[in-house]
């Protein structure tokens, strides 16, 4: 910290660096373990001592995507030789790929759940961010009676425990037939993210000098034109960051999805745990599903790194 460096300070700094490395290692072990288990053959996933070095393979991903059944007896050599490379992996594991009567491979439920997650997260993010940006602009630039109370109201909807909201929503959705539908989840996630998006976008828009728009208004722009041509481009970084945050929240959401969906519109978070069941789960397949599911969030976290503080504190703390 200080410019003058005494030997004691240099020593302390080295100790701190070593400590940081140890902490980093401990914090990342669970994530590393997910990633490495996803590429292990099944018999190496649950060994004692744990297997750290191994020949990575993609069989967990093949198994993740297909429906399989246990082989009663080993398959004949010709069948094995005729099988494509990825099917051999399944056969090597003592299982066979389930096919329909016409010989088409039956997929597992994972792909569908992953797609559902994508649909629900993307649409609800789009809705929450567009509505949130407009509302944030309204609160930022115009006088609103009881502004603080409205903003508190908006934030408080975010703080409600999901199960508390889910009880009446479940009953209402049952009446209008929105249970287990994409639209039902999209509405819930939009409502959930909307409050966040208003709060955080207000912070971003507050930072754009009003003079920009005022100058445009003097030049003959209408308010709407000024909003679209001046404010929106200036707020683009903020909008992008907000969108990524909303996407991650919707992507990770579990409780609503568990309660409101069971098949057709089910997203990945309730699906992945339901595959563990009882007995001995194949952890490599679970790891593969988890790995694919976490990948987008991990990438987004890096893209978002400069906005994390702001997002996590609802825009209260800026750097």
């Amino acid at each position: 910290m200080a410019a003058v460096r005494t030997p004691r300070e240099i020593f302390l700094n080295r100790v701190a660096i070593a400590a940081v490395m140890v902490v980093l290692l401990i914090m990342l072990v669970p994530i590393y373990w997910i990633g490495s288990t996803a590429f292990k053959p099944r018999n190496l996933a649950t060994t004692i001592p744990p297997t750290v070095f191994f020949q990575p393979e993609v069989s967990p991903f093949v198994k993740l995507m297909t429906k399989r059944s246990q082989l009663r007896k080993p398959v004949e050599q010709e069948v094995y030789d005729a099988a494509p490379w990825w099917e051999k992996m399944v056969l090597d594991g003592g299982e066979k790929v389930v096919r329909t009567g016409k010989g088409k491979i039956r997929p597992s439920g994972y792909g569908q759940r992953f797609t559902n997650s994508l649909i629900v997260s993307i649409i609800s993010t789009f809705l929450a961010v567009s509505m949130g940006t407009l509302t944030a602009y309204g609160f930022s630039r115009f006088k609103v009676k009881g502004e603080d109370d409205w903003l508190f109201f908006i934030l408080s909807t975010r703080m409600l425990p999901p199960v508390v909201v889910a009880i009446p929503m479940y009953l209402m959705y049952r009446v209008v037939g929105l249970n287990d539908s994409h639209l039902g989840l999209i509405i819930l996630y939009t409502a959930f993210n909307l409050s966040f998006s208003v709060w955080i976008m207000k912070g971003f828009i507050d930072e754009i000098p009003r003079e920009y728009e005022e100058a445009a208004l003097v030049d003959g722009y209408t308010r709407i034109q000024a909003f679209f041509k001046i404010v929106l481009p200036e707020a683009m970084t903020g909008i992008a960051a907000t969108a990524v945050f909303c996407f991650i929240t919707a992507w990770n959401e579990y409780a609503f999805a568990l309660i409101m969906t069971n098949r057709r519109a089910q997203t990945a978070p309730p699906y992945i745990p339901s595959q563990v069941g009882s007995g001995l789960p194949d952890w490599t397949v679970i790891a593969a599903g988890t790995f694919l599911f976490l990948l987008p969030v991990a990438i987004f976290t890096f893209l978002l790194r400069n906005h994390l503080l702001r997002g996590m504190s609802f825009g209260a703390i800026r750097k």
């Binding site: 200080a2 700094n13 701190a16 940081v20 902490v23 980093l24 914090m27 072990v29 669970p30 994530i31 373990w33 997910i34 649950t46 060994t47 004692i48 509505m131 407009l134 509302t135 115009f142 409205w150 508190f152 109201f153 934030l155 408080s156 909807t157 703080m159 409600l160 425990p161 999901p162 508390v164 909201v165 009880i167 009446p168 929503m169 479940y170 009953l171 049952r174 409502a191 909307l194 308010r223 709407i224 991650i248 992507w251 990770n252 579990y254 409780a255 309660i259 990945a268 978070p269 309730p270 992945i272 745990p273 679970i286 790891a287 976490l294 996590m312 504190s313 609802f314 209260a316 703390i317």
Partner: protein, 282 residues
């Protein structure tokens, strides 16, 4: 269009949306909370007055859920503050690749609680989990032992959310004016004195925000505990509420329960927002 029209056009849809999909359902369930309605049957709801509330507030089992939740909140938030603040203190110096390290440390809190929580089952496994192996604990039961399960869930929560406390603490630490430390050095103040008299008081408000926020979230915890443990000793309020509503189908009773929880959450939220505004003004 006049500014007034634009303002209304921009704000009213959001408010309306939130009222329709958050407030209206709550009013709907307020009505049910005074009945013995069960969503699993077609029997009509009978009005039972305050009976549900009376039952819940005097039921010793529900109070046990509250005690478990309180224990959970205290253990996990304390753990997060100690670990998170500790990490922030370590990172608040000249460390090579600081940006990358910070981002990597923040990763756990961005991931899905349910999905990553599930994987901790493998890490905690008594016979082949890497935690027992790494710590040399033999066949220690983390999730199946009723006395340990709640703390195991809290430990996973600490792993996930310490980065959050770290993130906020780092912001607080980096905002402490350097000249205060320089002055302390000139005065030959000890490092304990510097920490307790300069660092801590200046960082406290922002850490307080982290504490209240995490308290609120820990109080509502559902995903992690539901997935990791089925022990009754780890049954948090949100889990009891879920079971009452969607497994036992006591819709009326659970609506009343939800309202009791709601009042508590609104109370904590109020404190949180007051504090947030106070810090914002500085």
């Amino acid at each position: 269009m006049s500014d007034l029209t634009i303002r209304n056009l921009f704000i009213i849809p959001t408010i309306a949306f939130l009222i329709i999909f958050n407030i209206f359902p709550l009013l709907y369930s307020l009505g049910y909370s005074f009945t013995d309605f069960r969503a699993s049957t077609n029997a009509p709801a009978n009005f039972v007055g305050l009976q549900n509330y009376h039952y819940l507030l005097t039921d010793p089992f529900i109070w046990r859920n509250f005690t478990i939740t309180a224990k959970y909140v205290i253990v996990s938030v304390t753990g997060q503050v100690i670990v998170g603040f500790g990490m922030a203190m370590l990172l608040n110096r000249d460390i090579p690749l600081k940006g990358l390290i910070t981002t990597l440390l923040l990763l756990p809190m961005m991931l899905s609680m349910a999905v990553v929580g599930l994987f901790w089952k493998l890490l905690y496994d008594p016979s082949f989990g890497i935690i027992n192996y790494g710590l040399g604990l033999g066949k220690f039961e983390w999730l199946a032992d009723p006395d340990v399960a709640l703390y195991a869930v809290a430990l996973t929560d600490i792993w996930m959310w310490s980065p959050f406390v770290m993130l906020l603490s780092l912001a607080g630490l980096s905002a402490v004016p350097k000249h205060l430390y320089e002055a302390a050095e000139i005065d030959r103040a000890g490092s304990f004195y510097t920490f307790f008299r300069i660092t801590l008081p200046l960082v406290a408000p922002i850490v307080m925000i982290a504490i209240i926020f995490r308290t609120m979230e820990a109080f509502k915890t559902f995903d992690l505990a539901y997935i990791l443990s089925s022990q009754p000793t780890a049954e948090l309020i949100a889990i009891r509420l879920y079971k009452m509503a969607f497994l036992e189908w006591q819709t009326g009773m659970s609506s009343a329960f939800a309202y009791i929880v709601l009042v508590m959450v609104v109370a904590i939220t109020n404190i949180y927002v007051k504090y947030l505004n106070k810090v914002k003004e500085r």
